[in-house]
Subunit: 299 residues, 6 copies
């Protein structure tokens, strides 16, 4: 029906042309930026290890921006007549891996077309061709055919076989494969095989130290410096509870959520209950322990 009236403008990109428009907010913890730069220069694939929400994705975005080759103009599809926009950074192709992710999802597939079929490159092939950073998030979740697929891309050959087309493609010089992995999660069943692991250098991540985290919270949620420090303090205390029934600590993101609710006039205790306590666990006892931490900080 009269959908024109409700029609709205949305922006979209070709996957391999997605370049960050402004510098992502990232505060380094150690020499991780130098390590990544060395690996990128030597074309060594990188494995990022660390817990949920500790900043791995943000780090890759930052590096993609920072390593930026002098880049061309890109504009979003929906704004055709707009002026080309100066962008900066290596294109970043991110794939969130899951149990049903197959090799075809990464490499590409044939599609029926007018008279015959048309090949559509998958995100990995796109990244290989344009020289993007390809970030496979939580790679162990994917089906096994995907891990094997990346083998010839991650040794001296740097080639991607596209068996359905009978082709081999050599990776563009700018291409780098980055994968992430949460060691806290993995079961024996879903481990990264040694024959895959030993194709990467590994950088271990953890939650940011309290002072750094407070700065991040303040920057992202707009709360006062004091409130940000209180929230960072809560984060630290909650993570110490991890041994006492919490599956995982509160991510920085949850603390930012609390801050954002507070900015909308929700009381700090209620905001923390909704953003942190109820989100972290369904267990009533563990909820009570976390709420106690909340009330020691926000009386």
């Amino acid at each position: 029906m009269p959908s024109e009236t409700t029609k709205t403008v949305y922006r979209q990109w070709v996957i391999e042309e997605y370049v960050l428009e402004k510098e992502p907010f990232y505060l380094p913890v150690a020499d991780e930026i130098q390590l990544f730069e060395a690996a990128y220069a030597q074309k060594i694939p990188v494995l990022l290890k660390g817990p949920t929400g500790c900043g791995k994705t943000r780090f890759v975005e930052y590096m993609a921006y920072k390593l930026g080759r002098p880049l061309t103009v890109v504009k979003s599809r929906s704004k055709k007549d707009e002026e080309p926009q100066e962008v900066h950074g290596v294109p970043l192709v991110t794939v969130a891996c899951h149990e049903d992710l197959t090799g075809s999802d990464l490499v590409g597939r044939y599609l029926l077309e007018g008279d015959g079929t048309k090949w559509i490159d998958g995100p990995l092939t796109r990244a290989v061709k344009v020289g993007a950073i390809c970030y496979l998030d939580e790679v162990v979740e994917a089906r096994k055919d995907t891990t094997v697929l990346i083998h010839p891309l991650t040794d001296h050959r740097r080639i991607l076989p596209i068996e359905k087309r009978g082709e081999l493609i050599e990776a563009h010089d700018g291409f780098l494969l980055v994968i992430s992995y949460n060691p806290g999660y993995q079961s024996a069943l879903k481990d990264l095989k040694q024959s895959t692991r030993q194709r990467f250098v590994s950088i271990e991540f953890n939650y940011p130290p309290k002072q750094l985290e407070a700065k991040i919270i303040q920057h992202e949620s707009n709360v006062s410096e004091e409130m940000a420090q209180d929230l960072a303090r809560l984060g630290e205390k909650v993570r110490n509870l991890k041994e006492h029934g919490l599956q995982e600590g509160a991510s920085t993101r949850l603390l930012i959520y609390a801050g954002k609710l507070i900015e909308k006039s929700i009381s700090p205790r209620r905001a923390c209950q909704v953003a942190v306590v109820w989100t972290l666990t369904d267990d009533l006892e563990v909820q009570r322990s976390v709420e106690e931490l909340v009330s020691t900080i926000f009386e």
Copy 2:
């Protein structure tokens, strides 16, 4: 065969144009409306937790109506010449999740067409584009690829990758993802991963308090105020039986069903037997316990 004679008129909508026509009947229990408004304003995804039939779906419908941007005209498809109708509310796209729900079911798929294929947006893509509230009911039931799919939509990026088309779509400003989850149900196997949970603020729900529930029953089933209170009393008592063999308490809906049967001249005890006792359990002993509760109220 002569199907014209049996042909009947039915109404249908384009999914993303489904807007509630009148204000849903909803009685708030606490500050859940304020919390949802704050989250919507800050674009923080919302997780609703609570038992079967406690009103989560109704709450989302109410919020979609209440948050209504000044909205355009929409009319149902089957009434083409009818006058456009003033409607109110954010479009609401609801997806009941299940074990076989895949990412393609949410995002979209290619369909064979005259000469070639045609892409059909799935409900999530539709919601992302028009700025609807997308409500994924019982999200843990879905296949794992769906939970991963919503990750880039629920962090600072707010983008939906459509890998089969090689595209990224940025969510419309009005878009919000809401998911629901019944903590009583979940087994270890079907839990919401922390890396998914920690992308939401969480609001916990429970059955409405007795006085409120009586009002709802009366409003929905048309029984007398007294009868409604009796039924609400039954609800409360049955829920207390939960420890004694009942898998879950009686939902408000079942009490309304009993009221509706009573309105059609079925005796209250028989109505409660059919709507509550036999529906809740097949276990003869538990049935007997619930029937005793029924007979203390409706002698």
Copy 3:
């Protein structure tokens, strides 16, 4: 090869135009007819519980006939020039559920056509559109996506989402969903979830009492009243054996089969052996116990 010579006439219907041509033979046990009428009037979905062959299917057929709106003319497809025939009853769409029944089987699917694809409504969509009674027999056998599919149809919304078409359909006023379920069968794995159960009122069925069953046997198999009573007596005795190794009692249908064989000059004892004993079990000892019951009645 010359298939014209063996060609024979068979009758066929469009599924949603299947209306019973004459009143099904049904003898009520209690107030089940009134309960069903009240539920139908209030648009409350109905769950029928009971053992194999106790008459649930027949009851639904009877109600579909009895609730008959003044109905139009329908004729079977194969008799094109025949006069339209007066029929009576709500259309009845029956789906026997099984492990491989998917949502698409119920809702519909696309079919390749000349140039493009054509949508074919599934039986549930057909029932929703014309206002039929849709009877899902042994619903727990179906795949989980089907149970979730019926959720929006069985609450206040009464809508059927057809996600592959991006549409929502509102059920016709005459539509009612009826499901059946054999509590004796269910294992923990194949139980009806509470979130599904609590969308129905439930009517429990059992085998008909002896006098009633004798009348049914006589009516269906044409045996003498005395023989019918003997067979009903056998039924009663066999069901009492259930604790002693019989998985389930003999259904009325088996007793009718025995009667029909007797009508074709098979001796009563042989008829009962073939229709009841050998059908109920492969266990030699249990067979012997049932045969003893047979021989006490038909010496």
Copy 4:
């Protein structure tokens, strides 16, 4: 390559036109012929129970021939100009069931055609339409959707729903469903559900008595009467070994094989070793026991 030279004539039939050309050789054991005739007259589906190779298939072929309606002319496809041939019998459609047999395999499926799709009836639909006997051999092996499919065909309705076409087909008067089942085989997992069993009368089969079996062996393998009796004696003795490690006794077919090898100048002991001993088991000790039986008969 020059396939014309090796091209040979083979005969083929349309499935539902397969009628036996001459009376199958069948020697009745008890009143099974009368029972089947009564069931066929009353349209009661038949379940045949019994061990491997005891003659169930042959019995169905015999009954199909014997129940023969005055039948039309049929000729095999490859002999187009030949004179129509007088045949006799109800068409017999046999389906050997297996783990991957689905409902579509029985009912039919759409096939892509020039411009659009073409529906191909499956063997069950063919049998339903022409009034054939449809014999589902080892029905419990099939997938569960097939057992449910036959439910509406095996109660008073005698209809076959073809959901993919949105049609119901009423079975031709001559149609009868016959299924077979080997009780020795069945595990708990692969049992016939009571709701399926109780739609049939059951006839139990066993190996033929020795005198009868000797006649069959002589008729089929052409050996002397004495040799046939020796082989039948061996069969009887081997079946008595069943408790001592043999999974199942030797079928009549194996004894016939032995006879046929003997007819080709293989010595009786060697023929029995090859046809019976090595075929029945891989277990050396059990082989030795059976060979001893062989040597007591054929010294």
Copy 5:
């Protein structure tokens, strides 16, 4: 790319026209040739039992050659202008069975063509039509639907139902089904069902006796008679080790491999290490035992 330059000539056949061009080298152990001839004459299917590499495949090839009907001319596809070549033997269609082999793989399937679909006969259908020997190697590995498929081909009917086409095909007179099976392998899960076994006569095979094996080794690898006898001696000794941790003995093929390496100037001990020791097992201790045997023969 310039593929013409690397283009090479290879030979190919239509499957059912594959006839052996020269007599396979086969040395009989007992009366297996007479047994196979008798079975072929009587159209009795044959089951070959025996360990890996004991010569079952070679035996079938030999029999196909030997049973040769006066045969027509066949030439390989790639040599179109060449003179037709005199060949000899029954066509031999071999199918190596595996876990994913389905009935369609054997019988045939529809393929999309210009306008519509085209049926492609599978290897079994091809063999049935031209009267080839169809050899299903390691038949228990195949999916269950395949074993059931061969039932009507292996009893008195000798017909192949092609359900997807609604046809029955009668086997050509020359057709014979041969299956093989390694009893040492089979687990309870992957056993040949009695209802399948009892359709065959069975011939048991084992490794050839030492003198015979030496002749084979000499013939195939070209080593001296003495070296061949040494290698055959090694084979015999290794097979005696089977109880001591070896899963299976060394096949004749491995001894031939050793001979062939020796012919290329690899020392006998190194050749045996590479062809026998390291191939048979990864277990260091078992490797040492086998190497000791090697060194007693080749000091």
Copy 6:
């Protein structure tokens, strides 16, 4: 969008035309080159056994280069006007096997085309036709149908059946099948069946001796001779830790990675931490043990 601006040049090959352009750097450990040459001359398939990263893939590349027939000109696809380039070596077709690799992935499949379907040869068929070395890496990972597929290619027949096309293809003279296998990995479930193993000669590999490994590290990472020897020393010590909780030793590749990071000014200890310690294991205690080894070498 304006993708021309970001368009970059990448190289690609037809799979079976992939020939190494320069001699791979390979230092032999024993007589493995002679063994492979003898096997290739005698057309005996080769199985390479050994741990992750010990050089199996590099060895096959080296042999493909070394065995080079006088070869034709090949140029990469993207440089159409460039001069043909002299290359050397047997084409090498590598397939990294995985759990979802099916026979069709190796042999080929039909693809929809303008009017009809087009057959696309898989990598194995391509290798068979042009006479390439086909290297199936980690073959036990593949589905079982693939292992059976290679049986007729690895005995005296050397043919590849393409059942979907009804064809047999005889392997080109230059074709050789090479498979690899990591005995440390294999579980009982994923073992190479004896009937497959016994079609190969086997060459066992291990990590290179320290002096050799130092040369390789120096050559590949460009570090000083001394640094290379330190890294090789670390490799040796880490491998000795294998009994103490390390799943597998550090591959030569990881030592090269460390060298490359050192070349980019990362300190040796940090480089070893990132390339060796964190990559090998997530276990904190094992990490500490490995770090101690690092600090004894790089104080």
